[in-house]
Amino acid sequence: MTLSLEKSIVLPMNATADPRSRPPDRCRRDWPFFAGLAILSGVYILLILAMIVADLAFTTPQHLLRALASPEIRYSIKLSLISCTLTTLLSLWIAVPTGYLMSRFRFPGKRLMDAVLDIPIVLPPLVIGLSLLILFQTPVGRLIQRVVPVTYAIPSVILAQFAVACAFAVRTMLVTFDQISPRCEQVALTLGCNRSQAFWRVALPEARRGVLTAATLAWARALGEFGPILIFSGATRMRTEVLPTTVFLELSIGNIEAAVAVSLIMIVAALAVLTIARVFGLRAPLERVL
Protein backbone atom coordinates (compact mmCIF):
# COMPACT_ATOMS: atom_id res chain seq x y z
CA MET A 1 0.00 0.00 0.00
CA THR A 2 2.80 2.37 1.05
CA LEU A 3 4.88 1.30 -1.92
CA SER A 4 2.17 1.99 -4.44
CA LEU A 5 1.50 5.39 -2.86
CA GLU A 6 5.17 6.32 -3.06
CA LYS A 7 5.24 5.17 -6.63
CA SER A 8 2.34 7.34 -7.63
CA ILE A 9 4.03 10.38 -6.11
CA VAL A 10 7.63 9.69 -7.06
CA LEU A 11 7.27 8.58 -10.65
CA PRO A 12 5.60 11.69 -12.05
CA MET A 13 8.02 13.88 -10.07
CA ASN A 14 10.92 12.25 -11.88
CA ALA A 15 9.35 13.03 -15.21
CA THR A 16 9.96 16.74 -14.80
CA ALA A 17 10.34 17.59 -18.49
CA ASP A 18 6.66 17.76 -19.23
CA PRO A 19 4.62 19.90 -16.77
CA ARG A 20 1.42 18.12 -17.87
CA SER A 21 2.73 14.91 -16.26
CA ARG A 22 2.87 16.58 -12.80
CA PRO A 23 0.45 15.20 -10.25
CA PRO A 24 -2.64 17.33 -9.88
CA ASP A 25 -2.53 19.68 -6.90
CA ARG A 26 -4.57 17.95 -4.20
CA CYS A 27 -6.01 21.18 -2.78
CA ARG A 28 -6.87 22.66 -6.14
CA ARG A 29 -8.56 19.44 -7.11
CA ASP A 30 -10.67 19.05 -3.95
CA TRP A 31 -11.60 22.51 -2.71
CA PRO A 32 -14.25 23.31 -5.33
CA PHE A 33 -16.01 20.10 -4.42
CA PHE A 34 -16.01 20.83 -0.68
CA ALA A 35 -16.92 24.47 -1.32
CA GLY A 36 -19.88 23.28 -3.41
CA LEU A 37 -21.02 20.96 -0.62
CA ALA A 38 -20.67 23.69 1.99
CA ILE A 39 -22.49 26.32 -0.06
CA LEU A 40 -25.40 24.10 -1.07
CA SER A 41 -26.02 22.72 2.41
CA GLY A 42 -25.27 26.11 3.98
CA VAL A 43 -27.96 27.82 1.90
CA TYR A 44 -30.63 25.53 3.28
CA ILE A 45 -29.38 25.73 6.89
CA LEU A 46 -29.30 29.51 6.52
CA LEU A 47 -32.88 29.57 5.22
CA ILE A 48 -34.13 27.52 8.21
CA LEU A 49 -32.27 29.66 10.74
CA ALA A 50 -33.28 32.90 8.99
CA MET A 51 -36.96 31.94 9.21
CA ILE A 52 -36.70 31.34 12.95
CA VAL A 53 -34.65 34.50 13.52
CA ALA A 54 -37.20 36.52 11.50
CA ASP A 55 -40.00 35.16 13.72
CA LEU A 56 -38.02 36.01 16.83
CA ALA A 57 -37.24 39.51 15.53
CA PHE A 58 -40.87 40.14 14.66
CA THR A 59 -42.27 39.21 18.03
CA THR A 60 -41.68 40.67 21.50
CA PRO A 61 -42.01 39.10 24.97
CA GLN A 62 -45.21 41.15 25.37
CA HIS A 63 -46.71 39.52 22.28
CA LEU A 64 -45.83 36.10 23.63
CA LEU A 65 -47.23 36.84 27.10
CA ARG A 66 -50.39 38.31 25.59
CA ALA A 67 -50.78 35.19 23.45
CA LEU A 68 -50.24 32.91 26.44
CA ALA A 69 -52.77 34.91 28.47
CA SER A 70 -55.49 34.42 25.89
CA PRO A 71 -57.92 31.63 26.96
CA GLU A 72 -58.45 30.63 23.30
CA ILE A 73 -54.74 30.18 22.71
CA ARG A 74 -54.28 28.37 26.02
CA TYR A 75 -57.08 26.01 24.98
CA SER A 76 -55.46 25.41 21.60
CA ILE A 77 -52.07 24.69 23.25
CA LYS A 78 -53.74 22.20 25.60
CA LEU A 79 -55.70 20.52 22.81
CA SER A 80 -52.62 20.38 20.59
CA LEU A 81 -50.50 18.75 23.29
CA ILE A 82 -53.18 16.21 24.23
CA SER A 83 -54.23 15.35 20.66
CA CYS A 84 -50.62 15.04 19.43
CA THR A 85 -49.74 12.72 22.31
CA LEU A 86 -52.81 10.55 21.73
CA THR A 87 -52.10 10.51 17.98
CA THR A 88 -48.51 9.44 18.67
CA LEU A 89 -49.60 6.58 20.94
CA LEU A 90 -52.22 5.41 18.42
CA SER A 91 -49.70 5.69 15.57
CA LEU A 92 -47.12 3.59 17.42
CA TRP A 93 -49.77 1.04 18.30
CA ILE A 94 -50.40 0.56 14.57
CA ALA A 95 -46.96 1.35 13.14
CA VAL A 96 -44.85 -1.10 15.17
CA PRO A 97 -46.79 -4.27 14.23
CA THR A 98 -47.40 -3.06 10.65
CA GLY A 99 -43.72 -2.24 10.14
CA TYR A 100 -42.73 -5.63 11.57
CA LEU A 101 -45.25 -7.50 9.41
CA MET A 102 -44.09 -5.73 6.25
CA SER A 103 -40.41 -6.16 7.05
CA ARG A 104 -40.34 -9.80 8.13
CA PHE A 105 -43.01 -11.71 6.24
CA ARG A 106 -44.11 -12.41 2.68
CA PHE A 107 -47.84 -12.62 2.10
CA PRO A 108 -50.31 -12.12 -0.74
CA GLY A 109 -51.20 -8.47 -1.27
CA LYS A 110 -48.02 -7.17 0.38
CA ARG A 111 -47.19 -4.88 -2.56
CA LEU A 112 -50.70 -3.49 -2.57
CA MET A 113 -50.51 -2.89 1.18
CA ASP A 114 -47.18 -1.12 0.69
CA ALA A 115 -48.71 1.17 -1.95
CA VAL A 116 -51.81 1.88 0.18
CA LEU A 117 -49.60 2.90 3.11
CA ASP A 118 -48.06 5.61 0.92
CA ILE A 119 -51.43 7.20 0.10
CA PRO A 120 -51.63 9.45 3.20
CA ILE A 121 -48.08 10.64 2.51
CA VAL A 122 -48.67 11.63 -1.11
CA LEU A 123 -52.29 12.76 -0.89
CA PRO A 124 -52.89 16.53 -0.52
CA PRO A 125 -53.84 17.22 3.13
CA LEU A 126 -57.13 18.90 2.14
CA VAL A 127 -58.15 15.77 0.25
CA ILE A 128 -57.53 13.66 3.35
CA GLY A 129 -59.76 15.98 5.36
CA LEU A 130 -62.48 15.88 2.73
CA SER A 131 -62.26 12.08 2.45
CA LEU A 132 -62.61 11.74 6.23
CA LEU A 133 -65.60 14.10 6.18
CA ILE A 134 -67.30 12.05 3.46
CA LEU A 135 -66.43 8.76 5.21
CA PHE A 136 -68.33 9.89 8.28
CA GLN A 137 -71.36 10.78 6.15
CA THR A 138 -71.67 7.18 4.90
CA PRO A 139 -74.12 4.83 6.71
CA VAL A 140 -71.27 3.21 8.66
CA GLY A 141 -69.83 6.61 9.57
CA ARG A 142 -73.22 7.88 10.74
CA LEU A 143 -73.65 4.76 12.85
CA ILE A 144 -70.31 5.46 14.56
CA GLN A 145 -71.29 9.10 15.07
CA ARG A 146 -74.45 8.05 16.88
CA VAL A 147 -72.22 6.47 19.55
CA VAL A 148 -69.28 8.93 19.45
CA PRO A 149 -69.66 12.32 17.77
CA VAL A 150 -66.62 12.64 15.52
CA THR A 151 -67.06 15.30 12.82
CA TYR A 152 -66.43 18.87 14.07
CA ALA A 153 -65.61 17.44 17.51
CA ILE A 154 -62.34 16.64 19.30
CA PRO A 155 -62.15 13.00 18.06
CA SER A 156 -62.04 14.37 14.50
CA VAL A 157 -58.88 16.33 15.38
CA ILE A 158 -57.14 13.18 16.60
CA LEU A 159 -58.38 11.12 13.64
CA ALA A 160 -57.26 13.76 11.11
CA GLN A 161 -53.81 13.92 12.73
CA PHE A 162 -53.60 10.13 13.00
CA ALA A 163 -54.54 9.56 9.32
CA VAL A 164 -51.34 11.33 8.21
CA ALA A 165 -48.94 10.88 11.14
CA CYS A 166 -49.40 7.11 11.31
CA ALA A 167 -48.20 6.66 7.71
CA PHE A 168 -44.90 8.35 8.61
CA ALA A 169 -44.56 6.22 11.73
CA VAL A 170 -45.21 3.04 9.71
CA ARG A 171 -42.52 3.98 7.18
CA THR A 172 -40.06 4.68 10.00
CA MET A 173 -40.75 1.35 11.68
CA LEU A 174 -40.50 -0.53 8.38
CA VAL A 175 -37.05 0.94 7.74
CA THR A 176 -36.07 0.25 11.37
CA PHE A 177 -36.97 -3.44 11.20
CA ASP A 178 -35.41 -3.74 7.72
CA GLN A 179 -32.12 -2.57 9.23
CA ILE A 180 -32.24 -5.11 12.07
CA SER A 181 -31.04 -8.57 11.01
CA PRO A 182 -33.74 -11.22 11.51
CA ARG A 183 -30.95 -13.55 12.63
CA CYS A 184 -31.36 -12.59 16.30
CA GLU A 185 -35.01 -13.56 16.20
CA GLN A 186 -34.09 -16.84 14.49
CA VAL A 187 -31.65 -17.64 17.28
CA ALA A 188 -34.35 -16.74 19.81
CA LEU A 189 -36.68 -19.23 18.08
CA THR A 190 -34.10 -22.02 18.48
CA LEU A 191 -33.68 -21.06 22.15
CA GLY A 192 -37.36 -21.69 22.86
CA CYS A 193 -39.22 -18.54 21.84
CA ASN A 194 -42.39 -18.58 19.80
CA ARG A 195 -42.84 -15.79 17.22
CA SER A 196 -44.53 -13.48 19.69
CA GLN A 197 -41.81 -13.94 22.34
CA ALA A 198 -39.08 -13.38 19.73
CA PHE A 199 -40.79 -10.11 18.80
CA TRP A 200 -41.35 -8.79 22.33
CA ARG A 201 -38.09 -9.99 23.87
CA VAL A 202 -35.64 -9.52 20.97
CA ALA A 203 -36.91 -7.53 17.97
CA LEU A 204 -38.74 -4.74 19.81
CA PRO A 205 -35.92 -3.92 22.29
CA GLU A 206 -33.49 -3.81 19.35
CA ALA A 207 -35.87 -1.41 17.56
CA ARG A 208 -36.24 0.98 20.52
CA ARG A 209 -34.43 3.86 18.86
CA GLY A 210 -36.57 3.45 15.75
CA VAL A 211 -39.70 3.50 17.95
CA LEU A 212 -38.52 6.76 19.47
CA THR A 213 -37.85 8.24 16.04
CA ALA A 214 -41.28 7.12 14.81
CA ALA A 215 -42.90 8.69 17.89
CA THR A 216 -41.04 11.98 17.37
CA LEU A 217 -41.96 12.09 13.71
CA ALA A 218 -45.61 11.27 14.40
CA TRP A 219 -45.82 13.91 17.15
CA ALA A 220 -44.22 16.60 15.00
CA ARG A 221 -46.43 15.75 12.00
CA ALA A 222 -49.53 15.81 14.19
CA LEU A 223 -48.54 19.19 15.66
CA GLY A 224 -48.24 20.75 12.21
CA GLU A 225 -51.37 19.17 10.72
CA PHE A 226 -53.78 21.82 9.46
CA GLY A 227 -55.52 20.99 6.17
CA PRO A 228 -57.39 17.84 7.24
CA ILE A 229 -58.32 19.42 10.58
CA LEU A 230 -59.71 22.54 8.90
CA ILE A 231 -61.98 20.45 6.65
CA PHE A 232 -62.87 17.59 9.02
CA SER A 233 -62.97 19.40 12.37
CA GLY A 234 -63.70 22.99 11.40
CA ALA A 235 -62.03 25.97 13.04
CA THR A 236 -64.27 26.61 16.02
CA ARG A 237 -62.60 28.50 18.85
CA MET A 238 -62.47 26.72 22.21
CA ARG A 239 -63.71 23.54 20.53
CA THR A 240 -61.57 22.12 17.71
CA GLU A 241 -58.90 24.78 17.73
CA VAL A 242 -55.33 23.48 17.65
CA LEU A 243 -52.21 25.63 17.23
CA PRO A 244 -52.15 25.71 13.40
CA THR A 245 -55.84 26.63 13.49
CA THR A 246 -55.00 29.50 15.86
CA VAL A 247 -52.33 30.79 13.47
CA PHE A 248 -54.88 30.65 10.64
CA LEU A 249 -57.63 32.36 12.67
CA GLU A 250 -55.34 35.10 14.00
CA LEU A 251 -53.98 35.76 10.50
CA SER A 252 -57.48 35.92 9.06
CA ILE A 253 -58.39 38.77 11.44
CA GLY A 254 -55.09 40.56 10.77
CA ASN A 255 -53.52 39.86 14.17
CA ILE A 256 -50.09 38.96 12.82
CA GLU A 257 -48.34 39.47 16.17
CA ALA A 258 -50.45 36.74 17.81
CA ALA A 259 -50.00 34.46 14.78
CA VAL A 260 -46.22 34.80 14.99
CA ALA A 261 -46.25 34.31 18.78
CA VAL A 262 -48.23 31.07 18.37
CA SER A 263 -45.85 29.99 15.59
CA LEU A 264 -42.95 30.47 18.00
CA ILE A 265 -44.72 28.35 20.61
CA MET A 266 -45.01 25.60 17.97
CA ILE A 267 -41.33 25.95 17.05
CA VAL A 268 -40.34 25.64 20.72
CA ALA A 269 -42.59 22.59 21.19
CA ALA A 270 -41.17 20.88 18.08
CA LEU A 271 -37.58 21.65 19.14
CA ALA A 272 -38.29 20.31 22.65
CA VAL A 273 -39.53 17.01 21.22
CA LEU A 274 -36.53 16.80 18.89
CA THR A 275 -34.16 17.45 21.79
CA ILE A 276 -35.81 14.78 23.95
CA ALA A 277 -35.51 12.30 21.07
CA ARG A 278 -31.84 13.15 20.54
CA VAL A 279 -31.02 12.86 24.25
CA PHE A 280 -32.73 9.47 24.54
CA GLY A 281 -31.25 8.41 21.22
CA LEU A 282 -27.76 9.21 22.44
CA ARG A 283 -28.17 7.44 25.74
CA ALA A 284 -27.92 3.97 24.18
CA PRO A 285 -24.40 4.37 22.77
CA LEU A 286 -23.35 6.09 26.00
CA GLU A 287 -24.56 3.08 27.98
CA ARG A 288 -22.52 0.82 25.72
CA VAL A 289 -19.40 2.85 26.28
CA LEU A 290 -19.89 2.95 30.06
Partner: protein, 213 residues
Protein backbone atom coordinates in the same frame (compact mmCIF):
# COMPACT_ATOMS: atom_id res chain seq x y z
CA UNK B 1 -27.44 -38.31 16.85
CA UNK B 2 -28.24 -36.47 13.61
CA UNK B 3 -29.79 -38.61 10.86
CA UNK B 4 -30.85 -36.91 7.63
CA UNK B 5 -32.46 -38.81 4.77
CA UNK B 6 -33.35 -37.65 1.25
CA UNK B 7 -33.65 -34.05 2.44
CA UNK B 8 -34.83 -31.46 -0.05
CA UNK B 9 -34.82 -27.73 0.58
CA UNK B 10 -35.64 -25.02 -1.94
CA UNK B 11 -34.65 -21.38 -1.41
CA UNK B 12 -35.41 -19.13 -4.38
CA UNK B 13 -33.47 -20.55 -7.33
CA UNK B 14 -31.20 -22.70 -5.15
CA UNK B 15 -32.04 -26.23 -4.01
CA UNK B 16 -30.54 -28.85 -1.74
CA UNK B 17 -31.26 -32.20 -3.38
CA UNK B 18 -31.50 -35.62 -1.79
CA UNK B 19 -29.20 -34.87 1.14
CA UNK B 20 -28.40 -37.80 3.40
CA UNK B 21 -25.89 -38.16 6.23
CA UNK B 22 -25.63 -39.10 9.86
CA UNK B 23 -23.57 -38.00 12.83
CA UNK B 24 -23.47 -40.44 15.77
CA UNK B 25 -24.14 -39.09 19.26
CA UNK B 26 -21.23 -37.23 20.81
CA UNK B 27 -19.27 -36.92 17.56
CA UNK B 28 -17.83 -33.73 16.09
CA UNK B 29 -18.83 -33.45 12.43
CA UNK B 30 -17.48 -30.77 10.14
CA UNK B 31 -19.55 -29.83 7.10
CA UNK B 32 -17.36 -28.41 4.35
CA UNK B 33 -18.02 -26.85 0.99
CA UNK B 34 -17.32 -23.76 -1.04
CA UNK B 35 -19.25 -20.53 -0.63
CA UNK B 36 -22.74 -21.01 -2.08
CA UNK B 37 -22.63 -24.81 -1.75
CA UNK B 38 -25.64 -24.74 0.59
CA UNK B 39 -23.95 -25.29 3.98
CA UNK B 40 -25.84 -22.54 5.83
CA UNK B 41 -29.13 -23.52 4.16
CA UNK B 42 -28.65 -27.11 5.35
CA UNK B 43 -27.87 -25.92 8.88
CA UNK B 44 -30.93 -23.66 8.92
CA UNK B 45 -33.11 -26.51 7.66
CA UNK B 46 -31.83 -28.70 10.53
CA UNK B 47 -32.68 -25.91 13.00
CA UNK B 48 -36.17 -25.49 11.52
CA UNK B 49 -35.49 -22.02 10.15
CA UNK B 50 -35.94 -23.08 6.49
CA UNK B 51 -38.93 -25.19 5.44
CA UNK B 52 -38.03 -28.54 3.88
CA UNK B 53 -39.83 -29.80 0.78
CA UNK B 54 -38.98 -33.48 1.23
CA UNK B 55 -37.09 -36.07 3.28
CA UNK B 56 -36.68 -36.47 7.03
CA UNK B 57 -34.53 -35.07 9.82
CA UNK B 58 -34.12 -37.23 12.93
CA UNK B 59 -32.37 -35.85 15.98
CA UNK B 60 -31.62 -38.25 18.84
CA UNK B 61 -34.12 -40.83 17.47
CA UNK B 62 -36.89 -38.21 17.14
CA UNK B 63 -38.40 -37.12 13.82
CA UNK B 64 -38.19 -33.32 13.96
CA UNK B 65 -38.80 -32.59 10.26
CA UNK B 66 -42.03 -30.68 10.90
CA UNK B 67 -41.30 -29.42 14.41
CA UNK B 68 -40.81 -25.74 15.26
CA UNK B 69 -37.23 -24.56 15.98
CA UNK B 70 -38.00 -24.31 19.70
CA UNK B 71 -39.01 -27.98 19.86
CA UNK B 72 -35.91 -29.45 18.21
CA UNK B 73 -33.41 -29.22 21.05
CA UNK B 74 -30.71 -27.63 18.92
CA UNK B 75 -28.25 -24.99 20.02
CA UNK B 76 -27.51 -22.68 17.10
CA UNK B 77 -24.61 -20.29 16.63
CA UNK B 78 -25.00 -18.33 13.38
CA UNK B 79 -22.12 -16.95 11.38
CA UNK B 80 -22.60 -13.37 12.61
CA UNK B 81 -23.21 -14.63 16.21
CA UNK B 82 -26.40 -12.53 16.33
CA UNK B 83 -25.93 -11.40 19.92
CA UNK B 84 -28.81 -9.44 21.42
CA UNK B 85 -27.53 -5.85 21.53
CA UNK B 86 -29.77 -4.78 24.42
CA UNK B 87 -28.79 -7.63 26.77
CA UNK B 88 -25.78 -8.21 28.97
CA UNK B 89 -23.68 -11.37 28.63
CA UNK B 90 -25.37 -12.68 31.80
CA UNK B 91 -28.80 -12.12 30.21
CA UNK B 92 -27.64 -13.97 27.09
CA UNK B 93 -26.66 -17.03 29.12
CA UNK B 94 -29.90 -16.88 31.12
CA UNK B 95 -32.21 -16.13 28.15
CA UNK B 96 -33.36 -19.68 27.31
CA UNK B 97 -33.63 -20.61 31.01
CA UNK B 98 -35.82 -17.58 31.76
CA UNK B 99 -38.06 -18.62 28.85
CA UNK B 100 -38.41 -22.04 30.47
CA UNK B 101 -39.26 -20.35 33.79
CA UNK B 102 -36.30 -21.94 35.56
CA UNK B 103 -35.78 -20.92 39.20
CA UNK B 104 -33.48 -18.05 40.07
CA UNK B 105 -30.95 -20.31 41.75
CA UNK B 106 -30.90 -22.74 38.82
CA UNK B 107 -30.27 -19.84 36.43
CA UNK B 108 -27.49 -18.38 38.59
CA UNK B 109 -25.83 -21.78 38.90
CA UNK B 110 -25.99 -22.46 35.16
CA UNK B 111 -24.70 -18.97 34.26
CA UNK B 112 -21.76 -19.47 36.65
CA UNK B 113 -21.07 -22.94 35.22
CA UNK B 114 -21.15 -21.76 31.59
CA UNK B 115 -19.14 -18.61 32.17
CA UNK B 116 -16.46 -20.69 33.91
CA UNK B 117 -16.39 -23.26 31.09
CA UNK B 118 -16.11 -20.55 28.44
CA UNK B 119 -13.82 -18.21 30.37
CA UNK B 120 -16.20 -15.23 30.22
CA UNK B 121 -16.80 -14.67 33.96
CA UNK B 122 -15.30 -11.17 33.74
CA UNK B 123 -17.66 -10.21 30.90
CA UNK B 124 -20.99 -11.05 32.56
CA UNK B 125 -22.16 -7.46 33.01
CA UNK B 126 -20.95 -6.27 29.59
CA UNK B 127 -23.13 -5.77 26.52
CA UNK B 128 -22.10 -7.19 23.11
CA UNK B 129 -20.89 -3.82 21.83
CA UNK B 130 -17.13 -3.72 22.25
CA UNK B 131 -16.59 -7.46 22.81
CA UNK B 132 -13.77 -8.93 20.71
CA UNK B 133 -14.55 -11.55 18.06
CA UNK B 134 -13.40 -14.39 20.32
CA UNK B 135 -15.36 -13.08 23.31
CA UNK B 136 -18.53 -12.63 21.24
CA UNK B 137 -18.11 -16.18 19.93
CA UNK B 138 -17.84 -17.55 23.47
CA UNK B 139 -21.00 -15.68 24.50
CA UNK B 140 -22.91 -17.02 21.47
CA UNK B 141 -21.68 -20.51 22.33
CA UNK B 142 -22.75 -20.13 25.96
CA UNK B 143 -26.20 -18.91 24.96
CA UNK B 144 -26.63 -21.92 22.65
CA UNK B 145 -25.43 -24.38 25.33
CA UNK B 146 -27.46 -22.93 28.20
CA UNK B 147 -30.31 -25.46 28.10
CA UNK B 148 -28.02 -28.43 27.42
CA UNK B 149 -29.10 -29.14 23.82
CA UNK B 150 -28.41 -32.57 22.36
CA UNK B 151 -27.14 -31.03 19.12
CA UNK B 152 -25.01 -27.95 18.53
CA UNK B 153 -24.95 -26.32 15.09
CA UNK B 154 -22.09 -23.88 14.48
CA UNK B 155 -22.04 -21.83 11.28
CA UNK B 156 -18.46 -20.81 10.49
CA UNK B 157 -17.78 -20.07 14.16
CA UNK B 158 -14.09 -19.28 13.71
CA UNK B 159 -14.49 -16.97 10.76
CA UNK B 160 -12.72 -13.62 11.06
CA UNK B 161 -10.75 -14.64 14.17
CA UNK B 162 -7.00 -14.08 14.39
CA UNK B 163 -4.69 -17.11 14.53
CA UNK B 164 -4.12 -17.05 18.32
CA UNK B 165 -7.83 -16.74 19.08
CA UNK B 166 -8.54 -19.47 16.55
CA UNK B 167 -6.13 -21.84 18.34
CA UNK B 168 -7.81 -21.00 21.67
CA UNK B 169 -11.22 -21.67 20.14
CA UNK B 170 -10.08 -25.08 18.80
CA UNK B 171 -9.15 -26.03 22.35
CA UNK B 172 -12.35 -24.58 23.78
CA UNK B 173 -14.64 -26.32 21.28
CA UNK B 174 -12.93 -29.67 21.97
CA UNK B 175 -13.33 -29.07 25.73
CA UNK B 176 -16.99 -28.13 25.32
CA UNK B 177 -17.67 -31.28 23.37
CA UNK B 178 -15.84 -33.46 25.89
CA UNK B 179 -17.48 -31.95 28.95
CA UNK B 180 -21.03 -31.77 27.58
CA UNK B 181 -21.09 -34.79 25.25
CA UNK B 182 -23.06 -32.71 22.75
CA UNK B 183 -23.17 -33.77 19.09
CA UNK B 184 -21.66 -30.96 17.02
CA UNK B 185 -22.19 -30.03 13.38
CA UNK B 186 -19.67 -27.35 12.47
CA UNK B 187 -19.84 -25.59 9.10
CA UNK B 188 -16.64 -24.27 7.56
CA UNK B 189 -14.69 -23.98 4.34
CA UNK B 190 -11.39 -24.11 6.22
CA UNK B 191 -9.54 -27.43 5.93
CA UNK B 192 -7.38 -26.65 8.98
CA UNK B 193 -10.49 -26.42 11.18
CA UNK B 194 -11.72 -29.75 9.87
CA UNK B 195 -8.37 -31.44 10.54
CA UNK B 196 -8.14 -30.00 14.06
CA UNK B 197 -11.67 -30.77 15.19
CA UNK B 198 -13.51 -33.32 13.09
CA UNK B 199 -14.39 -36.89 13.97
CA UNK B 200 -16.30 -36.91 10.73
CA UNK B 201 -16.13 -34.74 7.59
CA UNK B 202 -19.07 -34.08 5.28
CA UNK B 203 -18.60 -32.30 1.97
CA UNK B 204 -21.36 -30.42 0.18
CA UNK B 205 -21.05 -29.32 -3.44
CA UNK B 206 -23.71 -27.49 -5.47
CA UNK B 207 -26.52 -28.58 -3.18
CA UNK B 208 -25.47 -32.24 -3.05
CA UNK B 209 -23.60 -34.23 -0.39
CA UNK B 210 -20.59 -35.57 -2.28
CA UNK B 211 -18.40 -37.06 0.42
CA UNK B 212 -18.61 -38.41 3.99
CA UNK B 213 -15.63 -39.75 5.89
Amino acid sequence: MIAVEHLKVRVGGFALEDIGFDVPTGQYAVLMGRTGAGKTTLLEALCGLKPVTGGTIRLNERDVTRLKPAERGIGYVPQDRALFQTMTVREHLAFALVLRKAGRQVIQQRVAELSRLLGIEHLLERRPHGLSGGEAQRVALGRALSVRPGILCLDEPLNALDDDTRQEMYKLLAEVQQSTGVTILHVTHNLDEAEQLADRILVLRDGKMVCQT
